[in-house]
Assembly symmetry: C2
Homo-oligomer: 228 residues x 2
DNA sequence: ACGGAACCGTACCGTACGGTACTCTATGCA
DNA sequence: TGCATAGAGTACCGTACGGTACGGTTCCGT
């Protein structure tokens, strides 16, 4: 699946006209402010100053429009895949902390929460592609970035693991915990949870205690018990 | 919030008549099989062989009926809070593994997923209590059980931590990872993820590397770096 | 200046759902 | 036996939404 990265980037990201982008932007605003109930075709047309007929001409179905919203938002959020690889151990650790902090920031964003709620709410409908779309454009993109980072840490000897999937899952779990689902259910994170940088640092520290090598500059320590 | 446990147990668990319970059961079946679209008052009445008028008389509003479904399911799932506390370190570890395995089993259950989807889908509506209800009756109940376990491990010297909230969050994260949200979005866990017992064991092993004392029979080792 | 395409605003249609009212049956009680 | 209450089944109402059709306006190419 990773060998089709470039093709995905091109074929899956339809470029919308400025007008269409504006419409999608208004639709996202409506969704964030009023939830799925506010996201009627009439309301979108009104908010975007266009006619319903144009909506159907530009995006096809209503479901197609929802899908376009996901694609559009995913394209906007697409993180800068920092081209340069981390230099030393301290740098690598900081990269991980940045990733963790970014992850928390993205997941707790208004638009992300609203879109995830929408997709989850429709996940039961068998004809809905929204869930799969969010998984692909959202979570898998995040996993790609994390996996690249983890692999680089492995190659440089900052990390030790055999199964990158397990390492990623632990990383994600330590960083996010149940915060995401709580927020999806409408829980507002309380004071301590709002300090993403601090929490990211703690989570990464724990991650290093599980998968890190003792030496901050590389050279596996052999102390790691993750394989058996 | 923990000092009101018994009161909560009593006042928040309305006991439904057998007839009402049967209706709620049918409603849950409908929800699982057809999603929220299938959960119309007419469909519920038809499935439960009762009249819509009776539905409104028994449960009030439609939202009240949804809330009743959550309460009913939560009461059914209410875990046996194993009265006896773990004996030695091995026993304690097994208790944690059981908790982790149970957690994964519950979260991946049909009804749990359907109800969480329903509540999340409505979390944007400002007048919906479903999200808060699921948080309280579902997740907080789980956290209570885990917290009791963690505290017992701390008291007996199997674990070391200062902030039980952080310890719980790490535990939850290591066990669940992003599996729950993936499933909520409609992703079917692939082969390896289905083996909950194995995964639970691995997660607990990692948790012990973060919060466990070296000695399996107690006595803090001082090797734990979780506080600062 | 003319013709046409794009498109906004609105009206319209069919349908589906939440909620209510009404009729008819059965069961319990005096 | 007569009566009352509960409840099933159904018809009904208002509303809201997805989707389509139509008139009017603006803008562009010729």
């Amino acid at each position: 699946m990773s060998d089709a990265l470039v093709q995905d980037r091109v074929s899956d990201a339809p470029d919308y006209t400025p007008r269409q982008s504006a419409v999608l932007e208004e639709a996202l605003r409506l969704l964030v402010e009023g939830g799925d109930r506010a996201l009627t075709t009439a309301a979108i047309a009104r908010a975007a100053n266009c006619s319903k007929e144009s909506l159907y001409k530009w995006f096809g179905d209503r479901d197609d429009l929802l899908a376009a919203m996901v694609s559009w938002q995913a394209a906007k959020v697409r993180v800068r895949t920092s081209s340069d690889m981390p230099a030393d151990g301290a740098d690598f650790r900081q990269r991980l902390e940045e990733f963790a902090s970014d992850l928390l920031t993205v997941l707790s964003g208004d638009v992300s929460l609203a879109l995830n709620r929408l997709a989850i709410g429709q996940a039961s409908r068998d004809d809905s592609r929204l869930g799969a779309l969010v998984l692909k454009r959202g979570r898998d993109a995040i996993r790609q970035r994390a996996s690249a980072l983890l692999r680089s840490g492995l190659d440089r000897g900052h990390l030790e693991f055999t199964d990158i999937e397990r390492a990623y899952r632990a990383l994600y779990g330590l960083v996010v915990g149940d915060l995401h689902v709580r927020m999806l259910l409408g829980d507002e994170p309380t004071g301590a949870d709002r300090d993403f940088r601090r929490h990211a640092q703690r989570a990464i520290a724990q991650f290093f205690r599980l998968y890190g090598t003792a030496d901050p500059d590389g050279k596996p320590s052999g102390k790691n018990h993750n394989q058996h």
